[in-house]
Amino acid sequence: MAVNAPPAPVAPRWQESGAAGWLATVDHKRIGLLYIVTAFGFFFAGGVMALLMRLQLMQAELDVVTKDNYNALFTLHGTSMIFLFVVPVLAGFANYLVPLMIGAKDMAFPRLNAMSYWFFLAGGLVLMSSFFADGGPAQAGWYAFPPLSVQLPGNGQDLWILGIHLTTLSSLAGAINFIVTIHNMRTAGMTWLRMPLFVWTIEAYAVLLLLTLPVVTAAVTLLLLDRRAGTSFFLPDEGGSAVLYQHMFWFFGHPEVYVMILPAFGMVSEVLPVFARKPIFGYKAIAFSTIGIAFAGMLVWAHHMFTVGLPVWLNAVFALTSFAVAIPTSIKIFNWLATLWRGHISFRVPMLFCLGLLGLFTIGGLSGIFLAAFPIDYQAHDSYYVVAHMHYVLFGGTAFGLFAGTYYWFPKMTGRMYDERLAQWHFWLIFIGFNMTFFVQHLLGLLGMPRRVYTYTREGAFENYNLVSTIGTWVMTLGLLFFLVNMIKSWRSGPRVGSDPWKADTLEWYATSPPPPHNFDSVPYVTSHRPLRDLRMRVERQR
């Protein structure tokens, strides 16, 4: 009787709900969410490491953690925040958003995309396993300069190298995927100058990764050979060069900063116009300044090496290129300010984080000019001034942008609205705690506190600044708890939202919230960089 009935439709494995569906998924949205959730997991792990470090430094001569554990903490804090949080969480947002924003059904290579995620997870677990390694965890800092990183015994450093290999492979595959997707899969009418600005920044992110990751992979491979195969690429005693590694590492390490900040800038460029109810000011200027920052960012690596004794003229060249980065960066800031001008600014949390980024990244950008003027760097290099500068860029910049993006796209990804009240608490606690933690570190650095010391002996203002900084980390922790609770609670039971709760400009809001596996039934022809607003206007005119 049922012989002739058509077979019941069977969803492909990757569309199933439940664990199997997630494990087997090749859907860019699910992979994106896996990336984002996993990366935030590593963010909290790295945050706990930072909390322990600040407890140890709260007062002079404390013994909260042991000396070697302290060194492992800052090594793995830096490594996990960079390789396991910022870069992959951006890959997650890019995964989720780029196909939707350009009106595509998926990434160009869905299976490669899944592989990228699993390599990232594997790399993260390998890096963390360093904590339990025979002979102690990696403890040579996130840049692992030889000869120290060759000298350190035990397997922790080798696991660190393997972890870097896995995460760089993951990012490299991801970068190729993003580039191919952006170049080939834009929907009808979406020319380069009609692409959302976030997609522009992901293009820059991917190109920078593609050009620089192979160099760091080579560097840590040579490091592994020096450690385990008896070679001496970086060992001066046997004719190698310790400085060579620094060139290779920073050739990757500085563009990496732009890899981490540009997509956050892209998020600002998406969120700011929506909550100011105005078009972005200077679309082309912002798009091209992204490329300008990426290009100039490839030419500045030796500003991390002003004190290694390079010829002075070379320091001057790298100071000039570093100054040059400030030009496209200030173009972005002024265009964002101009976007606010005559807007109707509503202070929903995504907007607050964007405004916070504008205020705080400015401080991080300006302190970068001090460091680029190499005579000042002779004083400030490797001091807490650099720690402060870097966190104003990577937390006040990147993390604030990420929080803005997380709240902004939360309704799209989950189909539910976050809790505004909890989110406001999150913002204000983070804003205050962040400044308490890191602003005083400028002063500590100028007073002469070097990085990576597990304790200090100086008292007075020196000790008080350290205390303020430690208290700040607890204020931040409280803020992050509000974030965590909000995410869990709202994902489970937040109020349902429609496809476009913000009245936004870009195509991802044309899909349902959350979007179906194939994203769109149809995509409107794109005639500007604000296709959704164009559509809204057309509908209104027809009424």
């Binding site: 015994p153 190698g240 105005k278 000011f281 400030a326 109707h344 001090f370 003027a373 005579p375």
Partner: protein, 341 residues
């Protein structure tokens, strides 16, 4: 969050945080690098203040504009939800202005910075002939070794004459270090396999106790501290004479012990991160000690407390001096080790 009053209050907090922050630069010790006692240090501080002045202006322009726009263009409760701002997409003239002005400012800043570089680098000119005092600085895990023109040695403590051009020749025997005394001048790395030079001329006598190692160098990086004493020429000459090399100088051996051994094994050799070594026969056995501290260090399988070769590059005399000190100290030498035991 309801009520525009709460929003306003919070925006005031936002504004206050961003604008009050720079004031904290006026707190004690917060006004730039510490006052320098060298011309090169002064030059660095002046570059700092010029950059600071420019950065402060830019900072104020951006933050004040941001805060003013936030207040001025905030959505009022009575604004209907669908109202949009004017559809302004950009302005080429504005783009040119805020591209060219920062570029010009940065160019001026670069020219000014480069013009001060000769003073910062402080390379000796013709007038300095015969006025240069060269001191070899060797970075070790985890101490600084200084060798003076008459081959006198000191550890973690540097004595310098006032008003002479000091030429530090920096090297390392193991990993990367960085020599930094904030009051004197900027830091310079001590890197194995390469020789770096740092010049400066101290113009004030005094003791500067905040010397550190700037580049992470291993487990006791935090303890690689040092002090610099600037004294008059007569005192410097007297110091050199007093510390001229002599065989088995016990006082020197003691400072060598404090620098190279005590930071990991405790002042009394009772152990800290390294094991207790007081009374260990290796300490008084020249062949065994040579192998341990000059050649290969100690790296026992399964034992995380790795010991670097802390005395790499030591001369035979330095090794003998350390042994002489150990032998002079009953507790360290142990039974049978001390002289006349």
């Amino acid at each position: 969050m309801n009520g525009s009053r709460v929003v306003l209050a919070l925006l005031v907090l936002f504004a206050a945080t961003l604008l009050v922050l720079p004031l904290t630069f006026g707190l004690p010790g917060g006004t730039g690098p510490p006052e320098a006692v060298t011309e090169s240090g002064d030059a660095i501080n002046q570059v700092y203040w010029v950059v600071f002045g420019m950065a402060a202006v830019v900072f104020l322009i951006i933050e004040v504009t941001l805060i003013a726009f936030i207040f001025r263009f905030r959505r009022r409760p009575e604004t209907p939800p669908n109202v949009e701002g004017p559809q302004i997409h950009g302005n080429t003239r504005a783009e040119i202005v805020w591209t060219v002005i920062p570029a010009v400012l940065l160019l001026i800043l670069a020219i000014y910075t480069f013009s001060r570089v000769p003073e910062v680098e402080a390379k000796p000119g013709g007038g300095d002939m015969g006025n240069v005092v060269t001191i070899e600085v060797t970075g070790h895990q985890f101490y600084w070794q200084y060798r003076y023109p008459n081959d006198a040695l000191s550890y973690d403590e540097l004595v310098l004459p006032i008003d002479r051009k000091i030429r530090l020749v920096l090297n390392s025997e193991d990993v990367n270090h960085s020599w930094w005394v904030p009051e004197l001048t900027g830091k310079r790395d001590a890197i194995p396999g390469q020789t770096n030079t740092l010049y400066f001329t101290p113009n004030t006598t005094g003791v500067f106790e905040n010397g550190v190692c700037g580049e992470f160098c291993g487990i006791q990086h935090a303890r690689m501290t040092m002090r610099v004493e600037v004294v008059s020429q007569e005192d410097f000459d007297a110091w050199l004479e007093e510390n001229a090399p002599e065989a088995e100088d016990i006082a020197l051996g003691e400072s060598q012990w404090e620098a190279a051994c005590a930071k990991c094994h405790g002042l009394d050799g009772g152990g800290d991160i390294g094991p207790a070594i007081a009374g260990n026969s290796i300490l008084t056995n020249p062949e065994a000690l040579d192998l341990l501290v000059r050649v290969r260090g100690q790296n026992l399988p399964g034992n995380p407390s790795y010991m670097p070769p802390v005395g790499k590059g030591w001369t035979d005399e330095q090794l003998a001096t350390l042994i002489a000190y150990v032998k002079s100290n009953e507790q360290l030498a142990g039974p049978g080790g001390a002289d006349g035991g």
